[in-house]
Amino acid sequence: MLTLALILIPLLATAIIFFGVSVNARKIALGAAVLNIAVAIAAIFTSGFSDFTLNVLSKPNINLALDIHQNGGISVVLLLLSVIVTLAAVLSGTCPKGREKLWYCSALLISAGAIGAFISTDLFFFFAFHELALIPTFLMIGILGRGDRKEVAWKVTVYLAFGSIVLLAGLLMIANQLGSFDMTQLTALSHHQNEIALLLIIGFGTLVSLFPFHSWAAPAYASAPAPVSMLHAGVLKKFGLYGLIVVGYKVVPDGMAHWLPLLLVLLLCNIIWVGLVTINQKRLDLMLGNSSVMHMGYIFLAIAALVDNGSSFATQAAVLLMFAHGISIAMSFCLADRIENKTGSLELNQLGGLAKNAPSLAFLFGLVGMASIGLPGLANFAGEIMVFFSGFEGWKPADDLGPVQIATIIAIWGVVISAVYMLRAFRNIFQGETVSRTEKVKPLSGDDKLPAIILGVILLIVGIYPQSILQFFN
């Protein structure tokens, strides 16, 4: 039952906020987010409450089946990521006056959808919960977004609907062959592996902004209000990667191997091509959006290693990096929003010397910048190093380099690219002389700092002691 509560708490809070008269939306959302963390921890560390099944249709057999301990701990890690980022997202950003209902309802709905997708053990609800989270994303970008919000929201909808439909086709072909929607019964298929694998790579890939279906992501994150960027880039986007690992690799391993060369080329495009695009960005939010697209390439690399050599720890590497990236990108968007709030601009060439007046902002941004470059001691490093090792697992110096090894070697250059754009952004924004926009900036208040501190502490803990996350894999 506890697992059901994980979804019901945000949904009930949404209902209370939407229909309630003169309720304090922020307090209810905060309460729900904190309560959900408590429930998640209770569900993870106690046994016996962790699964829930309700038959919703007998023919075809569809169950609302939830279990956080499936998939050898992947779900547990992503669940933790979801509840933590949800709390930070509720605390972040500045809600426009009079729009509290929409603002907090959307954040909670996205959270409920993401959690539901990560803990469902039925293909139907696995897919359905993810879609549930897309509608508030669309609405929030369209209504409260910045810049060219309507165009961006439309673009996101078109891309994600396309990805979802392709994905649905793939999932249906799987369900038809296996004769059930039960995800615990997934086994390698006997027919059409190649076709299904392609559908899954395109479908899941579009949702994770795999090259060349990535161009929705950066504008969307730049335009969306902070909580939505944080939740989507940090949590919801991991759905596609999660799906490739727990569904794709299980049912169509040979099909994935068939498309491995294609996947390697695309993921290198993600890392190198999008990396170069990122260097070229003039606005901080677009830069962060593109960097998040770029970092997806590393996780795809872990999946490629898994498909190629069945690496024993590629899954753990991928999930650890998903966790680390989720926390760090959420923190980045949270701080970028504060920078815009303080200075009124995110144009890199209009800012400078911000560290003088807002030292804690500079420190926190520096921290997350280092994390996303992959500095040792912070969570992303642990994930990235494991990904690179997984690419070489089983390889002996006497062997020739295989495609995955070559891809890994090229991918490592991505770290350099990250360093270039991150450090340059930091220098442009925080160092040097103050400019007109940053002269009168006040330091961050406690409320402003809180979400970033929560996320930063987790980056440090996981970075110094990665076992805190890896322990969930059995």
Partner: protein, 476 residues
């Protein structure tokens, strides 16, 4: 309770309403709608609670050749009753527009029949659900169609309504001609009009049989709005009074599919002709999907959008029909009823208060009435087929039954059609939230519409998450 008596109760109710309207001359004729809805609710209760009685399936001898009972007919009878009740309730809230276009002084003097005719149409729909003989099918179908001719053109001072009436009359008569001609050929080829007998025959694939069958399929295509008989739909739906549009698009289409199941079942099951029937249906379905969805993309009028969307839905239903997945057809129709009525109730409300059917009229609804905007958002999401709403399940089951059984090109068309749906339904959602309202006046929702919309929207979610809720209706 005997099932066959239900239709007589319905006709009786209609006659009483008609006489009362004529002789008691009530001042406010729109009250008739409430009386009709109340009466039909009692009959619906009889249907539901009488389902387990012992003499349920008893049919007297004089009727038994033409009349069947059982799960199929009960489902479609219930469907007809529920939709007629909702149509009557919607008509009540539509009364101000109706009065405006039927009399000089905005009085309800000339509107009495408008609230009575749906009851007769309902009886026809219920007979259609039970008809097992081509002749009884024809008679029941005509009762429905002729009633609709009057209802569509009822707003006689409105050019649109008259135009719709004429178009529907001419094309409807044409399709009737097809049906009768088809039945004649069918009789010539098989020697009987009794479908039970036809299903026992060893069918051979003769030209006369196939010709008759294709004529019948064409005329059924008119009923359900499938290509190539879809041309009437946009204009008639747009011109007809909104409650009648809802009636046409939901009850009439569902009855068409109910009859199509009964007529086509023997042919889809026979080895000799099933290949031909399948091919015709699949081609029709693919064309319908493409036509409905692609034409809907460019619409700026919400009523027309719903018309094209109803063509699009007919395409999905035809796909399920062609692979003989009749339970999916029923499931899809049940979800279609819920979400379409929700859409029409909201359209009806906006039409009455703002006097416009255009999508522009929904601009800024999110500001004017957030709860109504939420309901419309859920409805549009359901029609587009967003998961965890009722609309997704219907599409999912259709996809599930066609993936692997029909040629891949048809499957691709179906997926493209579903994707296109997102575009035009979300256009409405965009208007609700992104555009500035033309007038800031908050929309007030009359209580009947309010409760109907709340119940229907809640049903969209409940069925979407817990489809077992209507599974029992389809199995029963």
């Amino acid at each position: 309770m005997n099932t066959y008596l239900l239709e007589f109760y319905v006709v009786g109710l209609g006659v009483i309403m008609l006489l009362w309207e004529a002789f008691a001359s009530p001042k406010n004729k729109s009250k008739l709608a409430l009386i009709g809805a109340g009466g039909l609710t009692i009959i619906l209760a009889l249907l539901i609670f009488g389902k387990d009685s012992a003499d349920l399936n008893h049919v007297p001898d004089w009727l038994s050749r033409f009349y069947s009972t059982g799960g199929h007919s009960l489902f479609f009878k219930g469907f007809a009753l529920v939709s007629t009740i909702l149509v009557l309730l919607m008509s009540y809230d539509f009364r101000s527009i109706l009065n405006k276009y039927t009399s000089n002084n905005n009085s309800s003097d000339n509107t009495g029949e408008f609230y009575t005719l749906p009851v007769f149409a309902c009886a026809g729909l219920m007979w259609m659900a039970s008809a097992t003989d081509l002749v009884s099918i024809f008679v029941a179908l005509e009762l429905v169609t002729i009633t609709f001719y009057v209802m569509v053109a009822f707003m006689r001072r409105n050019v649109g309504s008259l135009e719709a009436g004429v178009k529907y009359l001419i094309l409807g008569a044409l399709s009737t001609g097809f049906l009768v001609y088809g039945i004649a050929w069918m009789y010539g080829a098989t020697g009987t009009t009794d479908l039970a007998k036809i299903s026992n025959l060893e069918l051979t694939s003769s030209y006369s049989l196939l010709f008759g069958l294709s004529l019948i399929i064409i005329s059924l295509g008119f009923k359900v709005g499938a290509v190539p008989m879809q041309l009437w739909i946009p204009d008639v739906y747009q011109g007809a009074p909104t409650p009648i549009t809802a009636f046409l698009s939901i009850a009439s289409k569902a009855a068409g599919f109910g009859v199509a199941i009964v007529i086509l079942q023997p042919f889809l099951a026979s080895d000799a002709v099933s290949g031909n029937v399948l091919m015709i249906l699949v081609i029709m379905a693919a064309a319908t999907l493409l036509y409905g969805n692609l034409s809907a993309l460019a619409q700026t009028n919400f009523k027309r959008l719903l018309a094209y969307s109803s063509i699009a839905h007919a395409g999905f239903l035809l796909l399920a029909l062609s692979v003989s997945d009749f339970s999916t057809v029923k499931f899809y129709l049940a979800t279609y009823l819920i979400m379409n009525f929700a859409g029409f109730f909201i359209l009806n409300l906006v039409r009455v208060q703002d006097g416009s059917d255009e999508i522009d009229a929904f601009d800024g609804l999110g500001m004017r009435n957030p709860n109504l905007a939420l309901a419309l958002t859920i409805t549009m999401a359901a029609m587009a087929g967003v998961p965890l709403t009722a609309g997704f399940l219907g599409k999912l089951f259709v996809f599930q039954s066609i993936v692997g059984t029909l040629p891949w090109i048809v499957v691709v068309i179906a997926f493209v059609a579903a994707a296109a749906g997102f575009y035009y339904y979300f256009k409405v959602i965009r208007a609700i939230y992104w555009h500035k309202p033309a007038n800031e006046k908050p929309l007030t929702v009359p209580s009947i519409s309010k409760y109907a919309i709340i119940i229907l929207t809640a049903a969209i979610i409940v069925v979407g998450v817990y489809p077992k809720a209507i599974e029992c209706l389809i199995g029963g």
